[in-house]
Amino acid sequence: MNEGQTVESNPVQSVCAQCGLQLSSSGDRETVCVNCLLHTALGDEKLEQPTRPYRFDQYELITADDGTPVELGRGAMGVTYKALDTNLHCEVALKVIHPRYLADESSRARFLSEARAAAQLRHRNIASVFHLGSERGEYFYAMELIEGETLEEQVRRKGPIDCVTALDITVQITRALIAAGDRKFVHRDLKPSNVMLCSEADGAIVAKLIDFGLVRTVCDRSASGVSVRTGFIGTPHFASPEQFAGQTTDARSDIYSLGVTLWFMLTARLPFDGTREEIQRQQLSGVLPVHQLKRIPQAVIDLIKSILNVDSAKRPQSPATLKEQLHKCIAVADTAKQKHRRRFAYSALAAAVIITSILAASYFLQRKFISSATSEVVPEKSIAVLPFQNMSGDPDNAYFANGIQDEILTRLSKISDLKVIARTSVQHYQSKPENLPAIGKQLGVAYFLEGSVQKRADAVRVNVQLIKAANDSHLWADTFDRKLTDIFAVETEIAKTVADTLQAKLTGSEEQAIAAKPTENPEAHELYLKGRFFWNKRTNSDLKTAIQYFNQAIEKDPGYALAYAGLADAYAILTAYAAAPVSESLPRAELAAKKALELDDSLAEAHTSLGLLLFYNLDFQGSTKEFERAIALDPNYATAHHWYGLGPLRCIGNFDKAIAELNRALQLDPLSLIINADLGVGLMTARRYDEAIVQLRKTVEMDPYFYYAHLHLGKALQLNGQVAEAMTEYKKAAALNDDSLVLGLLAQGYAKLGQRDEALKTLEQLQQTATRRYVWNYTFALVHIALGQNDKAIEYLERDYRDHADYELALIKVDPMLDPLRGDPRFEALVSKVFAPK
């Protein structure tokens, strides 16, 4: 496409005889009409004819009110539209190859093989493909339109599926795999978003397998004796180990993916998560987070374990075998369900008998009953604000629903008479979970606030319901239809009504705090909400996106204190996520936090960020002041309690108060992994090793893949004299995360076990690592202590102080790992320097 070949130096001005528009007057040897060329491209040979609607052969894309085609799905290979078959007058799903692959022969071939494979499979549990066509060089195929939703959408919307139903869906997909196997096909991309669920007239759920985009024929090894290797192809969370390894796959690979899908149905979670490499590492470790499968019959757990075996030879060997085993599990699960129902009926009856007895029984018996019951009672004035449902129809508006939930939660948390559960502990629940009483117990709250948000242009509708956890009864519900500019007033009204209903006492300043209107500029507010949305995701790139949004919010409203506080938070934790060097992010965080407080001194978040920054600067007094102020402003802010306890209180050796603060943080955010682990860390620093080990083991049980918990469990075990057990934990941590501190702990562990050669080898590895990336001086210090080279260890710590590089130095006074250095004058001098008034 080089116009340069047809340049003419003298421009000609004339009009096209065909359409009357000006001809292209230069750059062409012979004049051409761009308009006519465009219409030729559109297929409008007679210009007076109106342009055709979006159309592929006899299929006309159905459009929404705004005229855009209705998309049913978008995948790597193509876009699926809702379309009308103009011959048969029925609706179909039309998959059209993605434009970017039009010129790519191999992708086109893949698209065709997908359509042809699916067309060969006529089965109740497979979406039928009945037409493959091409028009204007673009390929498409038509398939049955399934009115329903994907398995993924259903689980995300309603939470886990009950065991018997989940097994039944799995059986149906197994049938589809049997049919595919008869044709020697392997699906290779089996996952919840490729399973459609629809209801039949009698209410029965039918599962249909869709998207054969990665299908391939099984290599007939007996004939060729050769196994064909391919690069990784598939979706990492659901891919089998052999897919990751790029090996030949057969039905057992699909069986593995089906196992992960079954796990997702039962738990609404994934057994393996993270980057592709992390997932692969977790798979290969052979450790499954079976604690997620609570209340699932053992027989089902055993089957899942065998399906998810790393070794394909140890899985059910064919879909037919799997189907048989699933049927056995259904029988077991069904019996368990019946028993549970009966037990529930008996319990209800027993409860009635007990209540009657209590009414009739002696005072003594009444006292005894009440006292045992109250030992489990949660505070009456306690609430969890569940994630708000985004009803806008546009997933991009999720940030807005999240933001409203977050702001109501923040307003409520300012009320000291109320216990409000932190966001991180509620966020993985659904908007409307089914088992509220159980969740209430788990979180330690008496009430829930549920809600949904619908945003259209500049108007917003917020629905809320206040629910009593114990019996799932509704106390209050309301709908607010307002302009976007009035959103803060709605949030205030909801927070006030909740407080009134729960009879929480509000001080004057608390009333003011929950009625705050942080900005007059709705655009700035939306940008702020987007910033918080990404901040909560906590990955390097999301934190950087959050920073961009906060900055944009500040541009719109330079007086928006909360946006500065968001910026400070994002920069403050950027270092922790290794997205920026300390020297770069911390000064920016400090600047933003100070600016936020200059604009509004009552922001608990900004005081908390500043507290953390001062702590990093070894200013323990200043840090304490900021954390205390934050807690006074927002007594329910778990992060303030957490960082205060783990930071200055622990480092100055005020362990009782530190642990009390960490416990308070845990009450407010009971499911937070980091707070659970850090309570263990606090106990360890206080040299309460047995308790620390119990707490850290509990955290590991919550999530066996949380490397941080393994690392500190290892330290606690080592300090308790269990060095061999500690090494096991260090190795687990090393398998989960490539952290240089873990390498250092391993090196010093080898030294402690008397394996000096191994220790030196690992130290060398650590030194190699330091040539590629930053390694804490503290890490080297630990290794040299274990090798008996205290002088060298102190040198590293002194360097640390000089460079002001790690925050571990703040622990110098209390860290049990540094005990061998105590009493050395150089070390003591360093301690004094660290604790000198700032």
Binding site: M1, V32, L37, A41
Partner: protein, 219 residues
């Protein structure tokens, strides 16, 4: 993703005329506009600005226009680009060629943005016509292409099948068949080219219609 990057570099090579025209209409002299165009592409590819856009959504045309606007609004980059004096050669560009594409006499009242879109439409359609011409040339049918081109590309004289039949010495029905095939092939080529710049199949038609509306508004 080196493959994606080189595909992008190829796309940029194709779409320099709209960028150059945009820069010129913003008031830069021809030599500065050349340096800025070269530097913009260097900046665009070096900073991987495209990586910030969602590859599944949006049109390359809009993204490129927004990027060049940002580039020009950043004083530092702009001044640096001019100071460097065109030491970077992304596309082979001499002043005469570049000015011919800018075509100052055409669409004198158009804003820089509108001119960008007009030149975009022209680049797309002329490029596809050029590809078709090469295909026919390879088949030894260049003469036939030249004789029948007006049926696709319009012109100052209304084409007629009788005249074409007389000129080519082919029966009228055969001429009609050839024209039909040429149109069909042209359609495929232009759609394939546009497909590289959009993110969903239905957007190809949308893009064509949009470019038609740009021309209609400019008329």
């Amino acid at each position: 993703m080196p493959e994606a990057a080189s595909a992008l570099a190829r796309l940029c090579e194709l779409y320099w005329p709209p960028i150059y025209s945009f820069v010129r209409r913003r008031g830069y002299a021809p030599s500065d506009a050349q340096d800025l165009t070269q530097s913009f592409f260097a900046f665009f590819l070096r900073t991987k600005a495209y990586a910030r856009s969602d590859p599944l959504h949006g049109k390359f045309r809009s993204f490129l226009l927004a990027s060049v606007k940002n580039f020009l609004s950043d004083n530092w980059d702009r001044d640096q680009a001019i100071k460097r004096g065109g030491d970077y050669q992304f596309v082979s560009l001499d002043q005469e060629t570049a000015e011919a594409f800018y075509d100052a006499a055409s669409a004198p009242d158009s804003t820089a943005e509108r001119l960008f879109e007009l030149r975009w439409a022209k680049t797309v359609t002329a490029g596809a016509l050029n590809s078709l011409c090469k295909e026919l040339q390879a088949e030894g049918k260049l003469k036939l292409f030249e004789q029948l081109k007006a049926f696709l590309a319009g012109g100052s004289v209304l084409p007629s099948y009788d005249d074409a039949s007389a000129r080519t010495g082919l029966p009228r029905a055969t001429v009609k068949t050839h024209v039909h095939r040429l149109r069909q092939r042209y359609r495929e080529i232009v759609r394939r080219d546009i497909a590289r710049t959009v993110s969903a199949p239905h957007e190809i038609d949308e893009e064509l219609r949009y470019l038609c509306s740009v021309l209609a508004n400019a008329a």
